[in-house]
Symmetry: C2
Subunit: 414 residues, 2 copies
């Protein structure tokens, strides 16, 4: 039975991890940065060396196609089985998030080449632009445009915190491609990713068969208080935007515990104005990230967040402003694709569990335009979006083999 | 009886308020910025036009001396009566904080000139560098160096948030003077300032006779948590630095109310790392500003703050770091100088109350090296460190006349 080459996979992984490496053993490889350009160039070179025809679309998404019959025409008739993920990272993030799925997909293609295996459908590797959303909001922008969730023009005009436009950075790093960024026929989309949570490790399982992605709601809450001198302003006369914000931070911690059933809630971003020691904050801006395994639970959580923001504002005498930033309903993956992943694990004798993803992935948008599934591998201590992010290579090897065999099954024998 | 010229005072005030004016009717005139250079140049020109000999010391503090006998030698034998304040502002601050005391002192000198009044002691106007502490910490740096509280070398090496050194900015704007910045004999130091609190307005009084300055404690609290992905990390597994910080924000609000007796507490500064929507904050840094009218109350408050930081850290499983930044004991002004201010108000028929200042002022450091007192004028709605900062000119006129007469009494008849 065909298998990936673990030594080759590890070497490729180590090489990518040097690009944007941090001193703490992680990565800072923000979307469309110089580091992103270098990893993209490297991936394109590796794909071409593996006999793939590489195309770049107008969002900078990269596609490398392995023809159905090696040596044959690249413009195949049957829709491809696409494997992919992203190569950008959050600031001081880990070496695995995103790029591991790309490296494993590349290794799957190399393994097919080494075994001279032909497939009925062509096989593609996809690398999506700006998945993390750390530089340009929202996250998963490359796949969102492809799925028609965000217009190309809107995406082009997104600016980072220095005011630099996405389209200008795409052009600067040489990845403003010519291909239309629109849905096209695909046999399936498969994405291998680290779990980023603790469940697989706790269960001692090397692989998760992902059935879907939790519902996610992002919001921005701004409190407008009264900037004043921290000394002579008596406590009862204060309208402190940060005190109201602190109430919301605590509410976002409390609400998921009240609702239960694997909900989570995070305030990741909080800006204070004017942010000096001796001024009562006149303005505070925070974001809330709520996630739930059911749309109903998420609706209840969002209602409670809005109420908490109103209550906090009323208690402090400040003006609240509530802006929904993103709402993604529960994503259910395709039964056949999930079945193919499960069958691959069974065939290979790899122990697994079915599970939901707690994080958004490009697979979420792809699920809207083609049959989609995902393979998870464990995260040590569940840690992700940090330098300590780690996964045992024994688990990665199992995951990559499951990915390879699921893709093979979906692509069919030549 | 000699009086200040209100029209001239108002005109000078309006002219200074144009330098660094914000669209919202306030000022942004950070220490040692270009705007600070412009207001300094203007003040020096006004002082020289008023017959004062101007000197600049190594901290950029400006002194303009009106000789004891007009036309006589400038190097007088008797120590001067010094009136002063500062001309820098916080970002988007008001038009009054600091500069009003300088403008009123200038007008007092002009009034003495117009009346050809001679004094036994010379009269000086002082403008202190970097009072606000908005750009370089700590606040009141110019007077702190003069009083020997901070060494000149330490002050020179203070950096703003862009890493620019104070000494380089002093040199750049042309105010790195040659005079030593050390204590010298002074008959008295008098500072007129806006109250920045609501008490005078609430009592309907135009003037406050300031007996001292509340005790102040600044601290920085840092929480080191675990940066992690906001999606797949279950709530019980989190070590969120911002959740602990929110507890401290609420504690700093609660502690002064528990202790009572006019205490105040403020978290003005809070920075979150990495500060993105979908990462659990790995680090949060905040400052606490606690003030009390007694050192004992302040000690109790600081103890409670430290305990609150420890408790918050323990509850969230993060590591706390507590750094005291500044501790200023209760400052009591000189009985004779306070008496001279009170006597001036009585002589002029101006209604007043004795009070403590809730804000730090250069007078706090001057009190350590010479007999010191202050005159307060009301702040409309108690607002300060914001663009809405305002004071009625009827009140300012009363305050300026009290300043003039207190200075005259202390300087003595020629």
């Amino acid at each position: 039975m065909i298998r990936i080459d673990r030594a080759r996979l590890e070497e490729t992984f180590r090489e990518q991890a040097r690009i944007g490496a941090t001193t703490g053993g992680g990565l800072t490889r923000l979307a469309l940065s110089d580091e992103d350009r270098i990893i993209r160039d490297r991936m394109v070179a590796w794909l071409e060396a593996a006999g793939c025809a590489v195309r770049v679309d107008r969002m900078g998404n990269i596609f490398g196609r392995r023809p159905a019959s090696p040596g044959g025409p690249t413009d195949d008739e049957l829709p491809p089985v696409v494997m992919g993920s992203h190569v950008d990272s959050v600031p001081t993030g880990g070496r695995f998030d995103g790029v591991l799925g790309v490296v494993c997909a590349l290794e799957a293609i190399r393994a097919l080449n080494a075994a001279k295996t032909r497939t009925r459908h062509p096989i593609e590797l996809a690398i999506f632009t700006n998945e993390e959303g750390a530089r340009f909001q929202p996250a998963m922008l490359g796949s969102a445009v492809m799925a028609g969730k965000v217009s190309l023009e809107d995406a082009y005009n997104k600016r980072d915190r220095h005011g630099i436009r996405l389209v200008d950075e795409l052009e600067r790093i040489g990845y403003l491609g010519a291909e239309p960024c629109i849905p096209r026929p695909m046999r399936a989309y498969l994405e291998l990713h680290i779990e980023q949570g603790p469940f697989l490790e706790e269960a001692g399982l090397p692989v998760g068969v992902v059935e879907g992605i939790v519902a996610i709601a992002w919001a921005r809450v701004t409190f407008h208080g009264e900037q004043d001198h921290a000394g002579p302003t008596p406590m009862p006369a204060r309208h402190d935007a940060l005190v109201a914000a602190a109430d919301v931070v605590k509410a976002v911690r409390r609400i998921p515990l009240e609702i239960g059933r694997d909900m989570v809630g995070t305030v990741g971003w909080l800006d204070v104005h004017p942010n000096i020691v001796n001024a009562i904050p006149g303005k505070a801006v925070l974001t809330s990230d709520l996630r739930a395994p059911s749309d109903t639970d998420l609706d209840r959580a969002v209602e409670r967040l809005e109420a908490a923001a109103r209550d906090a504002a009323a208690a402090e005498g400040v003006r609240p402003e509530y802006e929904p930033l993103m709402r993604v309903p529960l994503t259910r993956f395709d039964t056949d694709v999930v079945g193919a992943v499960e069958a691959a694990a069974t065939t290979l004798g790899v122990r697994y569990r079915r599970m939901l993803s707690g994080a958004g992935h490009d697979a979420q948008h792809m699920a809207a335009i083609c049959p989609t599934g995902m393979v998870f591998v464990p995260s040590i201590r569940g840690k992700s979006h940090c330098e300590e992010e780690n996964t045992h290579f024994d688990d990665i090897e199992h995951g990559a083999n499951v990915l390879l065999h699921a893709a093979l099954t979906l692509a069919g024998p030549a």
